[in-house]
Structures are given as C-alpha cells and as structure tokens.
C-alpha cells in the first residue's frame, strides 16, 4: 500500500463531531434536570457547570472541525486559515475552563459533604429534640393528669378527714406549742358553750378548770408523748363546769421539738350524773334495805314497850299522874310505830295492783277526802280535770297516796299565809302520749338549792315530828313504778301575775289496756 486515504479520517471527524454535539447536549439536559430538582446540591451544580463548559468546548471544537472539513471540501482553504486561530483559541480557552471547573470538584465536594454532615447531625439532633419535646409534652400532660388525680385524692382524703373532724360528736382540737387552741370542731365549741361564729381565741389555760390538771396534762404529754383517758374539768363560756375524758397526743417536728398537741375530749357530765344517780339510788336501795332491817328489829322492842305501857295503864286511873305518863308513853310508842310503818312502806318491794285507771277519778277521790280540811284553812280548790283522757295502768291506792301527799305538801306550804289556791288539772298530751296531772299551789315555793333534794328520803323542811321526809320519796318511787315522771316547777308559772308557789307535774305513759286486774 502506498497511500492511505484520508477519507475515513475525514468522515470519522465529521460524524464524530456531530455525535459529540448531540451527546453533550443530552448530558447537559440531565445535569439541568438534576439541578432543577435540587438547586442547593453542590454536586448537581458542579455537574451542571462541568457539562455546560464541556458542551461549549465540544461545540466549539466540533463546529471548528466541521467547518474546517467543509471549507476544505469546497476548496476554501484561505477562509479556513482566517478562521482557524479563532477556533483553536476558543478550544484552548474552553479546555482551560473545563479543567478549572474540574479542579473545584474535590474541595467543593469535601466542603459540601462537611456541611451536609453538619446539616444531617443538626437534623438528627432536631429530630431527637422533637422526640424529647414530644415526650416532655406528653409527660407534662400526664403530669398534669397525675397531679390532678393526686390532688383529687388528696382533696377527697382531706375532705374525709375534715368531715370526720367536723362531724365528730366529741371535741376534737389542735393546739400549738404555747397551748393555744388553733383548731376546734363544732362539737367542741358547743361543749364549751361558744358559737361557731365567735371563733374564740382560746388557750388551754382558759379551758381547764384546775391549774394542776393542765400542768399534769402538759407534763405527761411532753414526757410520754401522749395522755390517755385523763379525767379533767373544763369550764364553759358561761362559767359552768363540765367533766371531760381527755386523750391527746403530742406533735413533734423533724427536730423532735414539741410543736403542739392534738386531742379529743368526751363530755362525761351526763355519764357522771348518771353514775351519781346510780350511786345515790344504790345508796337509797341500801338505805331501804337497812330501813327494812331496822324496822323489823325495832318493831319487837316497840311492841314490848307498847304492850307493857298498856298493861300498866290497867293498874292506874287515867287521871292519875302515873296514868297520864303511861298514856304519853303509849302515844309516843304508837308514833314510833307509824314511823316504822312508813319506813317499811318506803323500803318494801311490794306488790302492785294493775288496773285501768282514769287519773281524774283518782284526783276526785283524793279531793273528796281532803277538800274539807283544805277549805278549813281557806284554801280554794280549782279543778281542771279533762274526762276525755285515755286510761293508764296502775295501782289506784298507791296513786291516791301520791296525790294525797302532794296535796298535803301544798296545804302545808300555804298554811302560814292563811289562805291560798290549789289548782288541780289533768289532761292528755298527744305528742308525748302521756296523761299529765298537775298539782299547783300558791304557797312559799321551794328554794332553788333545795329543789334537787326534795325526793331524797328523810329530807324534810318541816319541823321535827311534823314529817318523816319520806312522803315525796315514796311518791317518786310509786310514780317510777308506773313508768312515769315527776317534774317540779318552783316558782310555778301562772297565767295571772308573777310566778309563785310550786307545781308538780306528774306524767303517766299511756299503755295498752289491761284486760283484768293482775297481781304482780
């Protein structure tokens, strides 16, 4: 082969240039798509500029080559000569630019990567923060819920205990280290006779009646830590004294310092009264027993005295001195007999009749017997006897005895005055289901200090020999047997004028009718 045709080379050149132009534009298109998608991405930016510059270079070179070949084909060598430097120059320029762009890649990508890394870690941190914030928010909401529940529970508990404190019928109190009462429930204030609105500032010194009690309380509570079932006397607002049973505990703070005490006090007054009554009734019972015993014993010697004096009276004439003396002896012996008989009546656990009684009938009976003597002493009897009352069950004879006793007492109370009024009434109280009989006089009344004692056996304000002091005791016992009560009112209220005299109100419970008289 002597020569190689240039035609293949020329063709390759021309076709190749053409392909290059197309390919470069296609590449640029993708680069453009990328950068459109993510304008911030350095990589796409780099690729875009790289492709752009490459496109320029490729186009420049390809166009140059194409033009060269075309000119040479059409024998325009001179024109090509003019153009050639420009083409070459552009190519050079663009190659350098392309190279320059490429150089930016490494550092650029490094920087970009670093930023990306930082951005990512920031994003992660942000995400974590968000998660934490979310958790915190939920916790907060939960917390609110928890707090609410706890508060509700606390409120309920507080309410429960506060209610218990307020509702307790015993006194519940708190006091501070200087024995000032800081809290007291309404029952306590009631007990001490203060009202809720007053909100009195009290200290234990004012409440305790006796200084020693308070000292004792305080010492015990500080040393032992509590005091249990201490009996003490408290003084009320109006000065009256009540008996209380006290239990209290000392309160200490974290430093074991005494900061106050809390306690409850139970009003024992009623209990004590009951116990005193019980004691007194036991006393009375034993007195009764003793009385019975004594009476028995006395009866015999009494009988002997009486008998002998009677015997001796046979031997003397009634007018003689001896006879007179013996009569005195007989009389006094008989008086003793009466006393003993009364005493025995009082002490007797005797049988009672049970009959259906109309109270007004009993009163009428009694008046029938006593009225005469009453009018003799200018005592006017006023009747207010309601016949439409239910029957009560009891012993007629004994009730007569009771009313006679009352009338006699009334009579004696009005004796000195020379005249007076006696009011007898009986009617039915529906609300209490009781029949009430009242005996009221306008006599001298019963002094306050004596009123409590009138039912005591052997208690009498009458002079010696005039009364045994057993009348009201026996009456009281009889009424009790009947299930009733006696109330004393002295001075007695009356419709006309100032209260004067005494009134006895006897109340009988109304029970079912007895079918027949039954002996107990």
């Amino acid at each position: 082969m002597t020569s190689i045709p240039m035609l293949p080379a020329i063709l390759v050149d021309m076709v190749g240039s053409f392909i290059i132009i197309i390919l470069s534009f296609l590449s640029l298109r993708y680069a453009w798509l990328l950068i459109r998608k993510q304008p911030d991405n350095f990589l796409w930016g780099f690729l875009f500029y790289f492709c752009l510059t490459l496109v320029c270079f490729s186009v420049s070179r390809a166009v140059g080559h194409l033009l060269k070949q075309i000119f040479l084909i059409f024998n325009n060598k001179d024109q090509w000569q003019v153009l050639a430097p420009y083409s070459g120059g552009f190519n050079t320029l663009l190659m350098i630019s392309l190279a320059a762009v490429s150089i930016y890649y490494h550092k650029g990508i490094e920087g970009f990567r670093a930023i990306q890394q930082k951005a990512r870690s920031l994003k992660e941190a942000n995400e974590q923060l968000e998660v934490s914030a979310d958790k915190l928010l939920r916790l907060n909401v939960d917390l609110e819920g928890i707090v609410e529940t706890r508060t509700m529970k606390l409120a309920a508990s507080e309410k429960k205990f506060r209610n218990f404190f307020s509702n307790s019928k015993d006194m519940v109190y708190f006091c501070n280290a200087s024995n000032r009462l800081v809290n007291m429930n309404s029952a306590g204030l009631d007990m001490l006779g203060y009202s809720m609105e007053e909100e009195p500032e009290l200290s234990l010194h004012q409440v305790f009646c006796n200084e020693e009690d308070l000292d004792n309380y305080f010492e015990t509570i500080v040393s032992v830590g509590f005091v249990e079932d201490l009996e003490a006397e408290f003084v009320r607002a109006d000065g009256t004294v009540i008996y209380v049973l006290l239990s209290a505990t000392a309160l200490f703070d974290e430093d074991r310092e005494f900061v106050g005490c809390e306690g409850i006090a139970k009003d024992l007054t009623r209990v004590r009264t009951m116990m005193e009554q019980l004691a007194s009734s036991e006393k009375m019972a034993s007195v009764g027993q003793m009385a019975a015993g004594v009476a028995h014993e006395i009866n015999t010697p009494l009988g002997v005295i009486l008998g002998y004096s009677q015997l001796m009276m046979d031997d003397f004439s009634p007018e003689s001195e001896e006879g007179q003396s013996l009569q005195v002896i007989e009389r006094q012996a008989k008086a003793c007999r009466k006393i003993v008989a009364d005493l025995l009546k009082f002490s007797r656990q005797s049988e009672s009749a049970r009959e259906n009684i109309m109270v007004y009938e009993v009163l009428e009976d009694v008046l029938a017997v006593t009225e005469h003597t009453l009018s003799m002493d200018h005592i006017h009897v006023h009747r207010d006897l309601d016949e439409n009352i239910p029957t009560i069950v009891g012993d007629t004879e004994k009730l007569r005895q009771v009313f006679v006793n009352f009338i006699n007492n009334a009579h004696h109370a009005m004796e000195e005055q020379g005249s007076g009024d006696l009011f007898l009434s009986c009617h039915y109280e529906e609300a209490a289901n009781q029949v009430v009989a009242t005996i009221r006089d306008t006599g001298h009344g019963i002094p306050t200090e004596v009123v409590a004692k009138i039912f005591d056996p052997f208690f009498t304000t009458k002079s010696v020999g005039k009364g045994t002091g057993l009348g009201l005791s026996v009456s009281y016992g009889i009424i009790q047997e009947h299930g009733g009560t006696i109330d004393v009112e002295s001075p007695a209220k009356r419709d006309d004028g100032e209260p004067k005299g005494t009134a006895f109100h006897v109340r009988f419970p109304v029970t079912l009718r007895e079918s027949a008289s039954v002996k107990k």
């Binding site: 019975a292 009476a295 028995h296 009866n299 015999t300 010697p301 009494l302 009988g303 002997v304 005295i305 009486l306 008998g307 002998y308 009677q310 015997l311 046979d314 012996a333 007999r337 025995l344 005797s350 049988e351």
Partner: protein, 128 residues
C-alpha cells in the same frame, strides 16, 4: 281458859304476851327456843300457839308445821313485823288461823285470841 304456847326470840316480847293473856285468864307457856317449844308441845296439850315468824334457828312457819304434826287440832296465831302475802299464804296453808302485825296492840291481840279460841273445830276467816 286455854293452854297457850307463846314463842318469840325476844324474851320480853314473849313474857309480855304471857302477861296480857294471863290477865285474861289463860295459861301461857313462854318460850324463846324453838326446840324447847316443840318438845313441850309433844308432851303437853296446847290449844293455841302464838308464834313470831322471825326466829333464830328457823322460821315461825316451820315451827308451826312441826307443832301441827304433833297436835293437828292446835290453833295458831302468827306474829310478824313484815307482813307479805307470801308468808301469809304459807302460814294459812300450814294451818295458822290468824295473823298479827307487830308491834302488837294489846286489844287487837286479846280480840284475836278470843276469836280463834271460839272458833274451835272450824277454820275462821283470816283477817290481816
């Protein structure tokens, strides 16, 4: 004129009864001891026994029982300082004819004794 037995743990009381009834013409035997009284009744005729209920060793009612065993036709008057329906009933059921409350009134006692003695053979109504 009757044979009367008087029993009371207090000497003076039984002697008093003796004196009162002797004045009325009866023969009275006074005792303070229950056993001695019972022993006497076993040996002798007694028309009427006047017994205190409250005695030292036993009750007068029990003594009445013993005496009645020995002398069923014997009359009896019970004395008591404390009359209750129970003791009265018991006394009647054992054969007492009368009942007297201490302290004894002389007249009352004389009356009752007459009444009881008159009613020999028949039981008289009790009056307390």
């Amino acid at each position: 004129m009757a044979e009367i037995l008087a029993l009371d743990d207090v000497q003076d009381a039984t002697v008093l009864i003796g004196k009162i009834l002797t004045k009325k013409g009866h023969k009275v035997h006074c005792f303070t001891d229950e056993d001695k009284a019972i022993a006497f009744a076993k040996e002798n005729t007694v028309d009427l026994a006047i017994l205190d209920i409250k005695l030292e060793k036993m009750s007068g009612v029990e003594v009445l029982g013993f005496l009645k065993e020995v002398q069923p036709s014997m009359k009896a008057i019970m004395l008591t300082g404390y009359p209750t329906v129970e003791t009265a009933r018991e006394a009647i059921s054992l054969g007492a004819d009368e009942y007297c409350v201490k302290p004894i009134d002389r007249d009352e006692l004389e009356e009752k004794v007459e009444k009881v003695l008159k009613s020999r053979g028949t039981k008289s109504a009790m009056s307390v």
